[in-house]
Amino acid sequence: MNPNSELDPQLASQLKTLRRAIPRDPQLASRARESFLAEAAQIAPRVSISPRNRLDGWKETFTSFWKITRREKNPMFNITMAVLIVLGVIFGGGATTVAAAQTALPEQALYPIKIWSEDIRLGWEIDPQAKLDLELQFTARRAEEIGAMLVAGGPVSEPVLTRFENQQRQTLEYAAGMSDELVLPALEQVRNQARQQEQLMMQLQVAEPVAAQIRARIQIMMQAQAQTAQQGIDDPLWLREQLRLHERIHLATPTTTEPSLPTATSATGNNPWTTGTPTPLSGYGPGESQNPWTEGTPTPGSGYGPGTGTGNNPNPSPGSNSEVPEKLPSVQPGNGGGGQPGNGNGNRP
């Protein structure tokens, strides 16, 4: 449709006059065209800004990530960055090492780190119940380690056994040190774990005779631990007193009272637990039974004793054995012989 048909004819006629135009000057038109093309050639973008950027621009792309635009050099910035990097390596690497050490066995290089980390965790713990839980957890670890070594037929080193024994006693101390309303559940915890570990030891398949002897020792230790805990449940005050006396002995004779189990690596064929001469402070010995806690020498004033002693010293003097906490499961290396005789006047069953 012709647009002009929409218009008034006279208006359309007037507008039509605009269509008539003077022809364009060809020279001006040609010059304008040349100017246009020249301008286009002049402002046309080049392939790259400069040959240098084209050659190593990719380097700039990577290095720009690490560049920190600074107006001036600041020595403190470099020092701070160095310290941060060193701390990151130390703490980051240390944490990784500690984590890796948690599965280490005693023969492995990372085992000392595992033990160290356990001590650190115990040292930081304040809550008595949490402290007991941690110690029980670490004791269970020792039992697992010893079990794994026995199954493998390898020797169980003296420090491992010593630590296991110490941790057992430590659980008793933590439990006995709790408030009256918490002491009974805590001692039950200790007792139950000892019984459980005894069962686990019993189920171990060990072939080597030495390993079997060590297993028997551990079982006896577990039985003694469970029995002590049970007696503490029956009479917490008595247990606390025994622990207090044991601690006094430790403080008085630190060189002789540090308990240690006979090492399995000696492989003498004799069980030091049941043979040899008992030391006055050990309290361990075969006596009538394998439990030195109930069969050993009663402590004067404690009211504790087997009732019918079979030892060869029917009249123990206060100066000889009167303050020895013989019921605690501790032994001296190389002894563990005959138990101290009871006097037969104890009032505990």
Partner: protein
């Protein structure tokens, strides 16, 4: 060089291909020139408007801008903006155009009469708003369709029709009623 597609022409123009730019110029430059001449009534100004319009296109392409399609609409819109700016720069017309539009002592010859009418129409168109002016020129002088004008002005067709209606009414008032 004859490129069939405006899209292809634009693609090559973005690469500053000289042949494509020459083709683009030849295709649209005369139209822009005469569009400017009809509105401005001066060959020199029309040449300047045409040159500025295409130079503006080159700069836009160089900066990654410019049209992605509808190159023709882009060029006419650009030329129209230049003309509008020119109108603003030059001295404003008298508020009452009657005196200037009608010249009783004009030459009675055909050509002279045509020139006078042409000038009167040009002045009347200049009195329109920029958008009305563009609609009148593109619709009734250049012969564009409404949808093409809508693309050029970037407005819906309904708005273009309304602009056209108001522009025609204004022209009738300026050109016809004063002559009666």
């Amino acid at each position: 060089m004859k490129l069939c597609s405006e899209q292809e022409l634009l693609r090559l123009a973005r690469l500053f291909d000289q042949a494509a730019l020459a083709e683009l110029y030849d295709r649209y430059n005369n139209g822009i020139y005469y569009y400017a001449l009809r509105l401005l009534g001066d060959q020199g100004m029309a040449e300047e408007c045409s040159a500025e319009t295409f130079s503006h296109l080159l700069r836009a392409l160089r900066n990654g801008g410019g049209p992605t399609d509808n190159l023709k609409a882009y060029l006419y819109r650009s030329a129209h903006n230049w003309i509008t700016d020119y109108y603003r720069r030059t001295a404003p017309l008298p508020l009452d155009p009657d005196v200037d539009l009608l010249e009783p002592n004009s030459d009675p010859g055909d050509l002279a009469e045509q020139n006078i009418i042409q000038e009167q129409v040009r002045i009347a168109i200049r009195l329109l708003t920029p958008e009305q002016r563009q609609v009148v020129i593109l619709r009734f002088i250049e012969g564009w369709e409404l949808d093409e004008i809508a693309i050029s002005l970037q407005k819906p067709i309904g708005a273009i029709k309304a602009l056209q209606h108001r522009a025609v009414a204004a022209l009738q008032k300026l050109l016809l009623e004063k002559m009666d």
